[in-house]
């Protein structure tokens, strides 16, 4: 046991010497890890936010089936306003589509008018609208909003139905932008990780050169392969760990300050990712940084540290 602590002290002493001797290299190593892991973390947070918004919005998304009114001029409305038989048929068909169709709510012309007035009460337009101008509609919530096309296909251009609208169509544009952002951030993060791997490899090589005297002596007196490599591996892991801690700080700042203090106040239409997402992203950063450091250092040093 005492030999183990003795050994640990010795190895860490050597690592510390390596770090302090090439301090600029160590700083460069930590900085690269910090930046690339932060980027990776941000891309993960963007991902969480996209999922969060999807959940939030999809929960509210409904498919609306607007029925023909006297003023409708689409081909499916040539028969005039929707008849009671048509309405019953639609409702029966919707009910047959359970469990995809989770909720059905019929909005009468009066309901539509009330909602309209409520929404536009400050606007002069509300004075010119009467209930009979607004269409009746079925408002439907889907258990899986992704499958809205099934509903659209079933009811589109059916007599008595003027239009089938899915709010998701509007949102999908937003989501495609967000998905693009997420992919971009992730791509950046990956590129930075590659750069980090190259830099780690380089730093290790320079460190090995700076320590060639020690390495030479260690080999001569019969140090094992692991004993030769350990200081380099620990140095790389040290860089990754400090860089990962920095990334965790950046992510916490983004959540605690940027999101909670600033953005959340101005954008009340959606919810934001919670601390759980920050914890997960930070852990992924720390682990992937450490693994990257280990793998790169191991292979980077193999060439320079033959037995």
């Amino acid at each position: 046991m005492s030999s183990l602590t003795n050994r640990t002290k010795f190895v860490f002493g050597e690592v510390w010497q390596g770090i302090s001797r090439s301090i600029t290299l160590t700083i460069a190593l930590i900085a690269t890890f910090a930046i690339s892991l932060s980027l990776l973390g941000v891309s993960l947070l963007v991902g969480s936010q996209v999922s969060e918004m999807k959940d939030y919005w999809f929960d509210k998304v409904e498919v609306s089936i607007f029925l023909c009114t006297s003023g409708s001029d689409t081909p499916s409305c040539v028969g005039g306003p929707a008849t009671p038989e048509q309405k019953t048929a639609i409702r029966n068909d919707l009910e047959a589509m359970q469990p995809l169709v989770a909720e059905i709510f019929f909005e009468s012309q009066q309901d539509a008018y009330d909602r309209f007035i409520e929404r536009f009460k400050a606007s002069p337009i509300s004075a010119n609208v009467t209930p009979d101008q607004l269409p009746e509609s079925f408002r439907i919530k889907l258990s899986n909003p992704e499958e809205f096309t099934a509903v659209v296909n079933k009811f589109l251009s059916r007599p008595g139905i003027e239009a089938v609208r899915d709010q998701r169509a509007t949102l999908s544009k937003l989501f495609s932008v967000l998905n693009g952002l997420r992919a971009l951030a992730f791509g950046f993060a990956l590129a930075m990780l590659v750069v980090t791997a190259l830099l780690v490899g380089n730093t290790i090589r320079v460190t090995a050169f700076a320590r060639r005297r020690e390495i030479g002596i260690m080999r001569l007196v019969g140090a094992s392969k692991m004993a030769l490599r350990m200081p380099f591996l620990l140095e790389a892991i040290f860089g990754a760990f400090i860089g990962g801690i920095f990334a965790t700080g950046v992510l916490s700042l983004i959540k605690g300050y940027l999101i909670d203090q600033i953005i959340a106040n101005s954008f009340s239409f959606t919810s934001f990712f919670g601390w759980q997402a920050v914890v997960t992203a930070s852990l992924i950063c720390l682990v992937s940084g450490t693994v990257l450091a280990l793998v790169t250092a191991w292979f980077g040093i193999a060439k320079h540290l033959k037995i």
């Binding site: 030999s3 003795n6 030479g216 140090a223 004993a227 037995i307």
Partner: protein, 248 residues
Amino acid sequence: MRRVSRASPASTDNVKSGEKMIKFENVSMTYSKNGLPALSEVSFEIADGEFVFLVGQSGAGKSSVLRLLIREEKSLTGSVMIDDVDLGQLKEKDIPQLRRNIGMVFQDFRLLPDKTISENVAFALQVLNKTKAEINQTVPAVLDLVGLLDKANRRPEQLSGGEQQRVAIARALVNRPAILMADEPTGNLDPDTTVEIMRLLDQINKAGTTVIMATHDAGIVDQMRKRVIEITGGQIVRDQARGVYGYS
């Protein structure tokens, strides 16, 4: 590989069993750098506890013999054996164990400048995971053997060349190897200091350690009257007990 520790630094036993410890059989090798032949068909044996000079011009192949013995290089043909272990067949993971049984000293000392004398010697034990108690016991003993106990806390730069070489010898011995190899250990030293170092090596040899020294210093070879193996152009041209540097 025999792991019996010979030559405990403080011991003065004079054990010479005469057993053949090192055996070169028709060894040929090329320089790994440029592929030029370094040794061709070299055969010799060195017994336990012998003192052997390897002499010859620079580039004759002396260092190649030493490098083969610590498996820095592998022979192209023939076999290099230590204690019946064929070094050519040695697995990479077993090379460190081989080197723990061989102490190595160089012309340029190879000390770590930012460590003290005792730290330099202790380094060789620390990388082998020795206990603090063992290090605290062995390092002063071996420093005492080379006569530098009073300078244990100095740094290499504060020592003379001869003293630095003695530190290097102490480091080579601290792990109690059966063989001590020295590659031009006196190449950077003045004649008086050279004599001191040779006395030390002789003393170590008398305590039971096999000593192999590569040199082209005719003076010390003539003076010591030990076995001489002369290499020229990668071939042994002379192997003589109690020899001198050159015939003429």
